[in-house]
C-alpha cells in the first residue's frame, strides 16, 4: 500500500508567534519551525500501515524553503521519500488554494492512501484534509482515532461529540488522524544517517501546471483586513490554601457576579 503523508511545517507553539504587519500573514521567519505535532502521528500511522501491508511512504509538504528540515526529520523517522512544493508565489495562500495545490501534487504520485493530521497548530482550521478530499473527489475519512486496512477497504473510528462513528471507504481515500491513534517513534541514529541519502523532490508551480496568479495572497479566498495584539492576560491572584481556599474561590466568583 503506497501512502502519502501530508505534513506541514509550523512555528513552534512554545515560541512567540507573530503576524507580519506588511501583509497580515504569518511571519514564518520569526520563530523556530517544527513538524506540526499531529502530523508526526500521521507519519507514524503511515509507517505502521507500510510495515503491515508493504509499499512506500512519501511525505508531501507545501511550504517555504526551510520546510526541507522537517521533511528530513520525517525521512529519519522512516519515510521513504519527500516531495516539497515550494514557490515564492505560494506565500499567503488560503486553505482552499493549499488543498488545490496538494491535490495537483498528489496527481503526480502513485498512492492508495493519503494520511494527514487533523489540525495544524498555526491555522487551527482542521479543514485541509476535507478540502483535499473535495479537490481530489476521493472519500473523506477524517478525525480517525483508529485505522484498519483490509485489502482495499479502510475502516476508521471517527471521534464524534457523543462517542465515535465507524466509517468505511475503499482506497484511494483521504485520512486524517488525531493524537490518540499511536505514539510516534523517535528517529534512530541509523534512521538519521539513512535520511541523508533519501530522495527529496522539489516541485514548483510550473511543474504542477499552476499559474502563479491562481495562488498566493492575491488569489486567497479569505484575507486578513487588520489585526490587533490582544492585551496579555494580566496575571491574576494566586493564594495558598490555608483551610479557606474553597471559600476564597466562592468570594471571587461572587465578586465577578458568576454566582
Amino acid at each position: 500500500m503506497n501512502i502519502v503523508v501530508l505534513m506541514k511545517q509550523v512555528p513552534d507553539t512554545w515560541a512567540e508567534r507573530k503576524l507580519d504587519p506588511s501583509d497580515n500573514t504569518l511571519d514564518r521567519e520569526a520563530s523556530d519551525a517544527v513538524i506540526n505535532e499531529i502530523d508526526e502521528y500521521a507519519i507514524e500511522e503511515g509507517l505502521r500501515l507500510k510495515e503491515a501491508h508493504g509499499g512506500e511512504v512519501t511525505v508531501l509538504t507545501m511550504g517555504p524553503q526551510r520546510a526541507t528540515e522537517s521533511i528530513r526529520k520525517a525521512l529519519s523517522m522512516g519515510a521513504d521519500k519527500g516531495v516539497h512544493v515550494v514557490d515564492d508565489a505560494l506565500h499567503g495562500s488560503c486553505a482552499i488554494t493549499t488543498a488545490k495545490v496538494l491535490a495537483k501534487a498528489l496527481g503526480t504520485l502513485d498512492y492508495d492512501l493519503v494520511v494527514a493530521g487533523v489540525e495544524a497548530t498555526d491555522s487551527r482550521l482542521s479543514v485541509v484534509p476535507a478540502l483535499v478530499a473535495e479537490a481530489t473527489g476521493l472519500p473523506q475519512l477524517t478525525g480517525a482515532r483508529k485505522v484498519t486496512a483490509d485489502g482495499s477497504t479502510i475502516t476508521i473510528e471517527r471521534v464524534s461529540d457523543s462517542g465515535y462513528d465507524v466509517i468505511q471507504a475503499s482506497t484511494p481515500a483521504v485520512l486524517s488522524v488525531v493524537e490518540k491513534i499511536n505514539d510516534p517513534r523517535y528517529p534512530s541514529f541509523k534512521g538519521i544517517m539513512a535520511a541523508k541519502s533519501k530522495p527529496v523532490q522539489t516541485v514548483s508551480l510550473a511543474d504542477l501546471g499552476i499559474a502563479p496568479d491562481e495562488v498566493g495572497l492575491a488569489a486567497a479566498t479569505t484575507t486578513v483586513e487588520s489585526f490587533e495584539v490582544a492585551p496579555p492576560r494580566s496575571a491574576g491572584t494566586v493564594v495558598k490554601d490555608e483551610g479557606q481556599g474553597g471559600v476564597a474561590i466562592a468570594d471571587f466568583l461572587a465578586s465577578k457576579k458568576l454566582i
Binding site: 507553539t13 512554545w14 497580515n24 461529540d161 489585526f227 471559600v247 474561590i249 466562592a250
Partner: protein, 318 residues
C-alpha cells in the same frame, strides 16, 4: 433584504443552543433562512422553534442518506441551496463536522471559509481570535462568505419568523457517497450541559487520580450548573470518556467561567480553553503553568478545596 443561510443543528427534535445563536447573529447580516439537513421528519419537529428564532424560510433537505455518509452529501446540498438563494452569507456552528461541511461548501462556491469567528459585522467581516487568544484578526471572505461561529459568541434572542418551508431537490453524486457510516457508538452520556454549549465548565486532570474521584469534579460542576470537562491525561486514563477532552485535539471552549482542578496547563490543553472569559485553577504545585492564565488560583489540595467550593456555592445559591 438578502437571505443568510443558517445550517441548524438539532438533537432529538430540539434545536441546539448554537442554532439559536446563529439565527440571532444572522439577523445583523440579512434575513435568516434555516437549512435543515437530516433524516425525514427533522424539520417538522423543529418548525415551531425555527419560527420563534426568526427563520423566514426553512430549506428542508431530508433523506436517510445524510445519516449514512460522512460530510460530503451535506456540503453538496448546502452548496446547491446557496446556488439558488444567492445568500449574503452562510453560517454554521463551529464543530469539527460543520467546519468540514462549510469548507467544502466554500470550495464548491469558489468562496472563502472563515473559521471560528467570535464576532460578525454587518458587512460580513469576521473577528477571529488566533494564537490562543494572543492576537485578534478581522477577516473577509470573497464570494459568499461561509463562516463558522464559536459557541457563546452572541446571546440568542427570540424574534418571530414565518418559517416558510421550501423543500430541496435531492440528488447526491456517487462521489459524495464514498465514505459510509457503518456504525455510531455512543459513550456514556450525562444529563449535564454539553461542553460545546456550556457557559460554565469544570474540568479535572491527572490530579483527580481516578474515575471514582471524578465525583469531586462533578459536585463542583453541579453546584455551578456547569458541564464537566477533562484534560487528556484524565481521558487517556479512562476515568471519563474522551468526548470530554478539552484542548487542541479535544473540544475548544470559551465559556464565561472555566474551573481547572488538578490540571497542569500544558500548551495543548490551553489551546482549547485559554480564551475563556474567567479562569479559576486549583493545583497543589504553585509553579503549574495553569496559574499563568488563571484570574484566580488556589495552591492547595483539590480534595479539600473543591468540596468546600461546592458546598459554599450551594449555600450562597440558597
Amino acid at each position: 433584504m438578502a437571505e443568510v443561510l443558517v445550517l441548524v443543528d438539532s438533537a432529538n427534535g430540539t434545536l441546539k443552543k448554537s442554532a439559536t445563536e446563529l439565527l440571532t447573529a444572522a439577523r445583523s447580516l440579512g434575513e435568516p433562512s434555516a437549512v435543515v439537513i437530516g433524516a425525514p421528519g427533522t424539520a417538522e419537529a423543529l418548525a415551531g422553534q425555527l419560527a420563534e428564532f426568526g427563520a423566514a424560510k426553512v430549506y428542508v433537505a431530508e433523506s436517510d442518506d445524510f445519516g449514512s455518509y460522512l460530510v460530503a452529501p451535506k456540503a453538496e446540498v448546502l452548496a446547491r441551496i446557496a446556488g439558488q438563494a444567492s445568500p449574503a452569507a452562510i453560517l454554521v456552528a463551529s464543530t469539527p463536522e460543520n467546519k468540514e461541511i462549510a469548507a467544502r461548501t466554500a470550495f464548491k462556491l469558489d468562496s472563502g471559509f472563515l473559521a471560528d469567528a467570535v464576532e460578525l459585522a454587518e458587512d460580513g467581516t469576521a473577528t477571529q481570535s488566533i494564537f490562543g487568544g494572543a492576537v485578534s484578526v478581522k477577516s473577509k471572505a470573497k464570494g459568499t462568505p461561509v463562516i463558522s461561529l464559536r459557541a457563546n459568541s452572541v446571546a440568542a434572542s427570540p424574534q418571530t419568523g414565518a418559517a416558510e418551508q421550501v423543500s430541496v431537490e435531492l440528488s447526491l453524486s456517487e462521489a459524495a457517497k464514498g465514505a459510509k457510516i457503518v456504525d455510531r457508538v455512543s459513550e456514556a452520556k450525562s444529563s449535564r450541559p454539553s461542553l460545546q454549549d456550556a457557559s460554565v465548565i469544570v474540568s479535572g486532570g491527572r490530579g483527580v487520580g481516578s474515575a471514582d474521584n471524578f465525583k469531586v469534579v462533578e459536585q463542583v460542576a453541579d453546584a455551578l450548573g456547569a458541564a464537566v470537562g477533562a484534560s487528556r491525561a484524565a481521558t487517556d486514563a479512562g476515568w471519563v470518556p474522551h468526548t470530554m477532552q478539552v484542548g487542541q485535539t479535544g473540544v475548544t471552549v470559551a465559556p464565561q467561567l472555566y474551573v481547572a482542578l488538578g490540571i497542569s496547563g500544558a500548551i495543548q490543553h490551553r489551546a482549547g480553553m485559554q480564551t475563556s472569559k474567567t479562569i479559576v485553577a486549583v493545583n497543589k504545585d504553585n509553579e503549574a503553568p495553569i496559574f499563568e492564565l488563571a484570574d484566580f488560583g488556589v495552591v492547595g489540595d483539590l480534595f479539600t478545596v473543591a468540596p468546600q467550593l461546592a458546598e459554599e456555592v450551594s449555600k450562597r445559591k440558597g
